[in-house]
């Protein structure tokens, strides 16, 4: 790795962690209903939203009502997104004349965007009208993210309150998160991206002359169609809200979606920014910021611990080239290492960094093709998804997933200090263990079962373009992505048949909501408990020791569950590649 690479990674981390406190404390103010500068301007809009929805923001809900509200809102969102896709041919803002989206793909896409997964079984510029992109997909980019954050805030309230079964109002949390956090941030980011050359237009696709014509003389191709559209506004949100669904098929590898190294920096920063800052919000809202920093530290340790090997693996010399005596050292004229599937304007380090960021968060946008990574470079994004999208993770969902892991960790560690385990003053008992186990279990089971179905059926086996271990990696990646609400694609997989579209859609739905419900159940149960005062016999959960234990638990559960699958995919690929 070059010094330049190290500096870029360091800069990224410094900015990411540096933003956690200011952004995190702002978000805490928003959710606690405290005054802040945006409320002065936007409070009338907020009130208007409540009036339209017919809800009273001060009317709090217990965990069951909160879950019901989340589910209701998401089901309505699903039907809206599905119908818009199906009917886009007869609706306005369709300059390219796109037909209605095919049933299976429309179903898959609707689930995908409602669940904040943004797995794309379609190519955006060849499938979706401008209206669908804006009114169906971008709207879900906002509200599915705000839903995840609302669930997190409900869990935080459950932890910080005691002897109360009220978790706040989902409608208020949804409106505030969207209006005061997601809209302003995406506005700023969209403008910044436009300044770098990302397109934002209602104009129709443009036909332009090729710089260099190609093809045989009889059928010389001299022009190409450039897809256009209101991209910047959607891209800003898909990055910030850990959605990841690209405007164009190749996602942020496309120059109109991610134009320059600076736009790349902003976009990759936006992937993790809110999720990292929410850790501080958590600390602030439970009135012990050390706890928030501890969780952030655990996430950062895993992130850095996997980022560096990924970047190293991609920068390493390819054994096949090495055998031919080809010079692979980085120089001003070549990147060195593995450039296959990567954009020249980003290079290896920024591509690997994006791959790790997008899979540690449940973002799923890409600026390079993960399928073309070295086996060890590719196993890291794959495994990060299998860890459950909790290393920063999806906005809201990453932290609530991590907090459930913290509860499991506290349980084992608490026993080892000889007390009934407690986390942040709340006793962890059978009910919490049941719900936390359930939430951790579900995505893991989905990955394994869906992959098993895919490799056992003709339709599933027809998906991957490759055979052998790499083909298996492609299938495993697809279901790891969908079952953990990530949405990134390994590429090299045809994902439109029933196995991938329908079973995948099922996996996305189950994984999202059957984690949200246990999470809210835990919130409800913790909220009702008495606060146990801390003493010298209490296990402290902000210490380096606990952080390491949490990291160990996350990695151990991830490794023990997925090692056999990984062994048959990327690990075999690596060994075969280097055995030659």
């Amino acid at each position: 790795m070059t010094t330049n690479a190290w500096l870029q990674l360091a800069l990224y981390l410094v900015v990411l962690i540096g933003l956690a406190k200011p952004l995190g404390s702002y978000m805490a103010r928003v959710y606690e209903g405290e005054p802040h500068f945006l409320a002065r301007w936007l409070a009338p809009v907020e009130r208007l939203c409540y009036r339209w929805m017919g809800v009273k923001p001060q009317e709090e809900m217990d965990w069951k009502r909160y879950s019901a509200a989340v589910l209701l809102f998401s089901v309505v969102g699903f039907f809206f997104t599905y119908l818009l896709q199906r009917l886009q041919a007869v609706l306005p803002l369709n300059p390219a004349g796109m037909p209605g989206v095919e049933q299976k793909v429309a179903f898959n896409t609707a689930v995908s965007f409602v669940t904040n997964t943004n797995w794309q079984a379609y190519g955006g510029e060849a499938t979706m009208s401008y209206l669908t992109q804006m009114a169906a997909l971008t709207v879900q980019n906002f509200v599915s993210a705000a839903t995840g954050m609302a669930v997190l805030i409900a869990l935080i309230r459950g932890i910080s309150r005691h002897e109360s079964d009220q978790l706040g109002s989902f409608w208020a949390d949804l409106v505030r998160g969207t209006l005061y956090i997601l809209v302003p941030l995406s506005l700023i980011l969209a403008l910044a991206l436009v300044s770098q050359g990302v397109v934002q237009t209602f104009a129709a696709y443009k036909t332009v002359p090729l710089v260099e014509s190609l093809g045989p003389d009889t059928a010389r191709v001299t022009t190409q169609v450039l897809p256009m559209g209101p991209a910047a506004s959607q891209i800003a949100m898909k990055q910030l809200g850990t959605n990841g669904g690209g405007f164009f098929n190749v996602n942020s590898a496309h120059p109109f979606e991610n134009a320059t190294p600076f736009s790349n920096f902003l976009e990759v920063l936006a992937i993790l920014m809110i999720s990292a800052a929410l850790c501080y919000t958590f600390g602030k809202m439970i009135r012990d910021t050390r706890q928030g920093w501890a969780i952030l530290a655990a996430m950062t340790i895993v992130f850095v611990g996997l980022l560096i090997p990924c970047v190293l693996a991609e920068n390493a010399h390819h054994p096949a080239y090495a055998a031919l005596g080809i010079d692979q050292a980085p120089s001003p004229l070549q990147a060195g290492g593995n450039m296959e599937g990567k954009e020249v304007r980003f290079g290896i380090t920024n591509s690997a960094e994006w791959a790790v960021a997008t899979t540690s968060a449940s973002n799923g946008s890409v600026n390079s093709m993960h399928d073309s990574f070295m086996p060890l470079g590719g196993v890291i994004p794959l495994w990060l998804m299998q860890l459950g999208e909790i290393i920063y993770g999806g906005v809201g969902s990453g932290l609530y997933g991590m907090l459930l892991f913290a509860i499991v960790t506290v349980f084992i560690a608490g026993l080892m200090v000889g007390r009934t385990p407690e986390y942040l003053g709340k006793k962890i008992e059978a009910y919490e263990m049941k719900m936390a186990s359930l939430a951790i279990l579900i995505p893991n089971l989905l990955v394994l079962f869906c992959t098993a179905i895919a490799v056992s059926t003709e339709a599933g086996r027809s998906g991957p373009l490759n055979t052998g271990a790499h083909g298996f990696s492609e299938v495993l990646y697809a279901f790891s992505s969908m079952s953990n609400n990530n949405g990134s694609a390994f590429a090299g997989l045809t994902a439109t048949n029933w196995v991938y579209a329908l079973i995948g859609g099922f996996a996305m739905w189950v994984s999202r909501f059957w984690i949200i419900i246990p999470t809210l159940a835990v919130a409800g149960s913790l909220g009702k408990k008495k606060l146990v005062p801390a003493s010298a016999g209490t296990l402290e959960t902000h210490t380096p020791l606990f952080v390491l234990l949490l990291v160990g638990t996350v990695l151990l559960v991830g490794a023990l569950t997925h090692l056999p699958g990984l062994a048959l995919g990327p690990i075999v690929e690596h060994l075969q590649l280097f055995a030659r």
């Binding site: 080892m416 200090v417 490799v455 023990l560 060994l575």
Partner: protein, 689 residues
């Protein structure tokens, strides 16, 4: 009777019975109680069927290997059953010895409770609640009851194991007697308080036998976690089969992984170590209480003991020795030390109270004054009376008295003397230090003051320091005035005290702590302790106490030693730590097992995976078998740990966690690498694979 304290861990008869019980427990209905081990049993059955098929030539796999795996899986189940049976067996042995002590005795049932001379002789088993019996010297008490008349010394060794007899008398806090104990002298009239089969002894035997053992809340929470892990590993192994078929089909190499290997992998991965030992740990926790002569009414109480945040401790007997002792003579002006000591000793010669004895001893030790015989001196003893509240001697015209300052002042006044200001100051000073002042006077002349002091038990301050490190607050309960209480509290190093404690104040204090989310433990013996005992989370009743106190508590200390509360807390913690440590160990073990089994399972399809065989195990078969054997043997090796419990030291939570993580976490990762390799070497050396 064989006392459990002296019994070795693997006591012959218990071990033999446990081995037999291990097979009885194979009954699937019993196994279902423990989902982890049930899965192992199903796996054992499955591999046995496969082995039979293989020997019959219906399966194209090496039958010897399948049989070996099958045998070791059965052994895994048996080892786990053995652990549970051992823990139960130790309890049963204790119950048997108690039952042996209970002979069917005859009882003298009074026809009229007021007339102890008219009685029918009936078998004890026919006695009902509220029957009244008379028990004379040498007879066994026929059932639990309260003494309503008389006083007797009773041998309670059948229950407590203590040979020293205890006094039981009507009224007060020493009126409860237990069936099966023996009256050694005198007689008592007892009102029976329990029907046959409901007596204290019956319930104790029932508890010890663990027949009605219920899972504790924490145990249930842990089982949920273990079940979750088991489900994950079950799906991991089940899906490995289609993965393997796909790998074989697409790489066109080797054969898919066999069911035997998948079962072996599954059993190695699921947390069998903790799953197999979990119930043994719980039973052994109660058993350890019994070895400390404490009967816990439920496992839940033992568990709660580990969680206690506040200990309410009675001053007398727990923090201080039962009696106050003289520590200094403080003469009045114009009186020499020796003169005061001499007068004080004379005044106390006939005083047989421990305080009086301590004055005589102090005078002897400090001033070399030999003890004198009061009769030889021709002195007349003036005993303590409620009116004068003084005692002393009349000798050679001297009237020596000692007593509380106000009593002596009144007496002096009557004789025309008075308490000097200096003596008054001394008296106040002693009271302020938490001592008890006794003023010594001779008719009109004040001689000085004796300083009586509560003696704090040796080492108790350090003990409280340890408790503080464990995060447990100690509160001293005393009837003393706040001034005295504060002084003793400071000297003993307790965190807080409740002075002039009444039963109501005690109850109030417990409720206050509980409202703050704390768990409270206390000991008590008197009937007036019963409400507080019922309210406390961990309530240890003294066996010497009243029946009401025993009913209200959730533990009974047979030794009636209030200091034991500290050991009870430690035992509770130890049980939780043992569970946590073995869970960590069990999960950490899986890392090595993957490295053994994964390369072996896919050896034919992807030979490159042998790079993961970092232990260098000889063949795929030896690798799988070694992992299975290690997995089974580790249960046996950990049985002593499960029964004895992980060693507990009173250090802060952070250090405790770090130490246990090092030993059971890091150790849990490393040990199986060594163990599996060793077993592999042995298997290869014996040409078994």
């Amino acid at each position: 009777m064989p006392h459990p304290k002296t019994r070795p861990l693997f006591y012959g008869p218990i071990t033999r019975r446990a081995i037999r019980d291990s097979f009885v427990k194979l009954n699937p209905r019993h196994m279902l109680r423990n989902p982890v081990m049930f899965i192992v049993e199903v796996g054992s059955l499955l591999t046995t069927v496969l082995a039979v098929l293989a020997y019959a030539g219906r399966l194209n796999e090496p039958p010897g290997f399948i049989l070996a795996v099958s045998i070791w899986l059965w052994l895994t189940v048996l080892f786990a059953n053995f652990a549970e049976a051992m823990a139960e067996g130790r309890g049963k042995a204790q119950a048997d010895s108690l039952r042996r002590g209970r002979q069917d005795v005859s009882a003298k049932k009074l026809l009229d409770p007021k007339d102890k001379l008219k009685f029918d002789v009936v078998p004890a088993s026919s006695l009902r609640k509220n029957d009244v019996v008379v028990v004379q010297s040498g007879a066994l008490i026929p059932g639990d009851g309260d003494v309503i008349e008389g006083v007797a010394s009773v041998d309670e060794s059948a229950i407590t194991g203590e040979s020293a007899p205890v006094i039981r008398e009507s009224g007060g806090d020493r009126s409860a007697v237990t069936g099966g104990t023996k009256v050694l002298s005198d007689w008592i009239v007892v009102r029976i308080t329990a029907n046959p089969g409901e007596s204290f002894l019956d319930r104790m035997i029932g508890l010890i036998e663990a027949a009605k053992r219920q899972k504790t809340p924490n145990e249930i929470a842990l089982e949920i976690l273990l079940a979750g892990l088991t489900i994950i590993f079950l799906v991991t192994t089940v899906t490995l089969s289609p993965f393997s078929y796909y790998a074989v089909a697409s790489s066109k190499l080797g054969t898919p992984v066999t069911v035997t290997v998948l079962v072996a992998l599954l059993v190695c991965l699921i947390p069998t170590t903790i799953g197999g030992l979990l119930s043994a740990i719980g039973i052994a926790g109660m058993d350890r209480m019994i070895q400390k002569n404490v009967i816990a009414m439920s496992g839940r109480a033992v568990e709660a003991a580990g969680d206690v945040d506040v200990l309410l401790l009675d001053k007398t007997g727990t923090i201080t020795l039962g009696n106050r002792q003289a520590v200094a003579f403080l003469p009045a002006e114009g009186v020499s030390d020796a003169e005061l000591a001499d007068a004080a000793q004379l005044a106390s010669l006939a005083d047989e109270t421990p305080e009086g004895r301590s004055i005589v001893v102090l005078a002897k030790e400090k001033y070399g004054l030999r003890e004198r015989d009061i009769k030889q001196l021709g002195a007349t003893f003036v005993p303590f009376s409620a009116q004068t509240r003084m005692s002393g001697v009349n000798l050679d015209g001297r009237q020596l008295r000692k007593g509380a300052d106000d009593a002596v002042a009144a007496w002096l006044k009557g004789n025309g003397g008075e308490l000097s200001a200096a003596v008054k100051r001394t008296v106040d000073e002693i009271a302020r230090q938490g001592g008890t002042p006794l003023v010594v006077a001779d008719r009109t002349r004040v001689l000085g003051t004796i300083h009586l002091k509560d003696i704090i038990k040796g080492g108790i301050k350090e003990r409280f320091g340890e408790l503080r490190q464990m995060g447990i607050r100690t509160v001293m309960i005393t009837g003393d005035n706040p001034l005295t209480a504060a002084a003793i509290a400071a000297e003993a190093g307790v965190d807080d005290f409740l002075a002039q404690a009444t039963p109501e104040a005690k109850l109030e204090l417990i409720r206050k702590h509980q409202a703050g989310g704390r768990l409270v433990a206390m000991t008590g013996d008197g009937t007036n302790d019963a409400p507080a005992l019922a309210q406390a989370d961990v309530a240890v009743a003294m066996n010497s106490g009243t029946q009401a106190a025993k009913e209200a508590g959730n533990m009974v200390d047979l030794d009636s030693n209030p200091t034991k509360l500290l050991e009870i807390v430690e035992t509770g913690k130890q049980m939780l730590i043992t569970r946590g440590a073995l869970t960590t160990f069990s999960i950490a073990n899986d890392v090595a097992k993957y490295f053994a089994i994964i390369p072996a399972a896919f050896a034919t399809t992807y030979p490159v995976l042998k790079a993961l065989n970092i232990m260098g195990l000889a063949t795929p078969q030896s690798a799988i078998l070694s992992a299975v054997i290690f997995n089974a043997l580790i249960i046996v090796f950990l049985v002593p740990l499960a029964l004895r419990g992980v060693r507990y030291r009173p250090i802060g939570a952070a250090r405790l966690l770090r130490n246990n993580l090092l030993v059971y976490g890091i150790g849990g990762i490393i040990i199986p690498f060594i163990g599996i390799k060793l077993i592999d070497i042995i298997l290869v050396g014996l040409h078994l694979v």
